[in-house]
Assembly symmetry: C2
Homo-oligomer: 367 residues x 2
């Protein structure tokens, strides 16, 4: 390779991969319509169902997480459908934009960035707009480091008897998520997050109710079509040539996660987030997100007075081989983010905190 792989990649995805995942990625190709792939897709689909906590159908798409978002929308909705978009950041906005692009009538519910959606406020919008057909909502908003209370939001949505499409891209496999218990009709997830594998696969679950909706849904769909995905999965295949290497990675990563135990995985993410938030405050920095809903997969931190966010990122990489996430959209330059999801451990967070302690005073921080 013509460049150096950073030792401390602390962005909220792609996340670093364990050695056994990288080894799997380096395996040569098999026939994606042969028996080995059939076994692998069955095994990985079952593994994902366990992580999604669902008995619904689960499909593996060759795409970024955004592809799963588009798939969720176009398989269940028709142009002219009224959709409530509960957005608390860049990725929530994106999901709403996709629905609008395909002709949905989107009612936008937003909060001050850095805060979560209040389920009571969501209920009010639902009460005021009985024509809403579906609610699209982000579980964990990567751009602000905030986790919505999905148990409470899903209850409000299900009490109102609406279709519920949930972006759980940066939460599923790192934070507990109960697809069936919460009544989530389509749940979206992506490989490069808590799964500890490279980007290129996206995962979706599809409930009975979502299948019913898909029968009426007239948004055009081909590549993203759940019906095709289902009929091919019955044969142990995908409709289109899959990213075989990332299936290899998923296969071994799921085994790794189950070996660690999902409860232990979740606890590790809680511990990492607590350590990160405590350490950040200890350095005299200010958390961006409302701490009552701060994410356990990514921490957003205000760029302190007197410091340039670009300088911070550069010095962290040049001096300590630590790569941080920047702010996105209107938060560019105003926050920086530390990803702590997937293949991350306490010592990794210690390295970031020590590096910040070293770099910040050198670039104008007087905290």
């Amino acid at each position: 390779m013509s460049f150096k792989i950073p030792k401390n990649l602390r962005i909220p995805g792609p996340t670093p991969c364990p050695d056994y995942v990288l080894e799997a990625m380096g395996q040569d190709m098999i026939n994606h319509r042969g028996p080995e792939f059939q076994d692998m897709i069955k095994r990985t689909t079952e593994g994902l169902k366990s992580i999604f906590q669902t008995s619904n159908d689960v499909f593996i798409l060759t795409a970024s997480g955004t592809g799963a978002m588009e798939a969720a929308v176009v398989n269940t909705l028709s142009p002219g459908d009224t959709v409530l978009s509960v957005s608390i950041g860049v990725f929530g906005d994106r999901l709403g934009q996709i629905a609008e692009t395909y002709g949905a009538n989107v009612i936008k519910f937003t909060t001050t960035w850095g805060t979560a959606a209040d389920p009571n406020d969501v209920k009010k919008v639902l009460d005021d707009n009985p024509n809403i057909k579906a609610v699209i909502v982000t579980h964990n908003e990567t751009s602000t480091g905030v986790t919505n209370d999905m148990a409470a939001i899903s209850k409000v949505v299900k009490d109102a008897d609406k279709l519920l499409l949930v972006d759980a891209i940066s939460s599923l496999s790192s934070l507990p998520f109960y697809t069936d218990e919460w009544g989530c009709d389509v749940v979206m997830s992506g490989s490069q997050k808590g799964y500890m594998i490279p980007p290129g696969l996206a995962f979706v679950s599809v409930s009975e109710r979502a299948w019913e909706a898909s029968k009426e849904a007239t948004m055009p769909r081909f590549y993203w079509d759940f019906g095709r995905a289902k009929s091919y999965l019955e044969r142990g295949q995908t409709p289109w040539t899959p990213a075989v290497s990332i299936f290899y990675a998923l296969d071994v990563a799921l085994q790794g996660m189950f070996k660690e135990g999902m409860e232990n995985v979740f606890q590790r993410h809680i511990d990492l987030a607590n350590k990160t938030r405590a350490g950040i405050k200890n350095l005299g920095l200010e958390l961006f997100a409302d701490e009552t809903h701060a994410s356990n997969t990514v921490t957003a931190i205000k760029v302190p007075e007197g410091v340039n966010g670009g300088d911070l990122a550069k010095r962290m990489q040049s001096d300590h081989d630590v790569v941080l996430g920047g702010g996105q959209g209107s938060l560019t330059g105003k926050i920086f983010r530390i990803g702590h999801l997937g293949h991350v451990y306490e010592e990794d967070i210690s390295i970031v905190l020590s590096a910040l302690e070293d770099v910040l005073p050198k670039i104008g921080f007087n905290g």
Copy 2:
């Protein structure tokens, strides 16, 4: 891994990968919005332009080849547009289906499978239907092992002043292709073919005329939107998280191809195809495709009388570790296919031919 990687994967994609590609695939992650990725996407995009023989924009999408097909259609067309679909097999049909799914009025031009499209016949349809806006056509039809005469077909299409969208998924990088000389407005390609890298990336080129068409085109697009791809590429990024590992692979594979020299790559594919066709006939088997247009990347062979196609595939794998391609669609069980594109050399073809010579008499062949 819980399964064996076949030594002789002779399907027309995914193709086997050289060791240096597999090594690249096993590298850990970088920030897809950082300087290393910026350098890599610039380098790989330039490399692809050279292979596409184009000065048009080229974009790298995280998707299967079918994603590139959908992108080509939705970025340039509107519902109600009349489109001529020149299909000579399964993949040609697919491109037409995508256009239909999004509301195009598709005129279907087909040939007997195994034969190429006659440019004069295409001209006649264009003359008879002046309302045609675009022509969609397959360069190399993987399902039948036939290569269309793109120089002649593109001339007819350009003489009629139509938009030209070409599926070159299984030809580009293995067969000479002249995007600009032929006036191709959108050309589609996929990583798992001649590029010798795993599936998961798709490539598209976009001409000035295609950009003009995109301004008027009203088919909905978000994930596939060329406009977003262009604005992000200007910053050395992709709009959605890219399949980073496959970029690593593409980066080194392009270097490998340029080192071999594209003229040598093309000649190797000609030699492999000639050896395959001669060997097949020598075994007493019959080629499926019209030999005047037989593909130099994949050879389709009729399953001989008295032989079951499924048995053939199984015995070739169990006895010789050779994985063949089967027939698709209405050709299932009627043909089998030998892929000879990408990282394939003469000895690989010898192995397949010897294996066929051994297996065929054992499963009922009396040729």
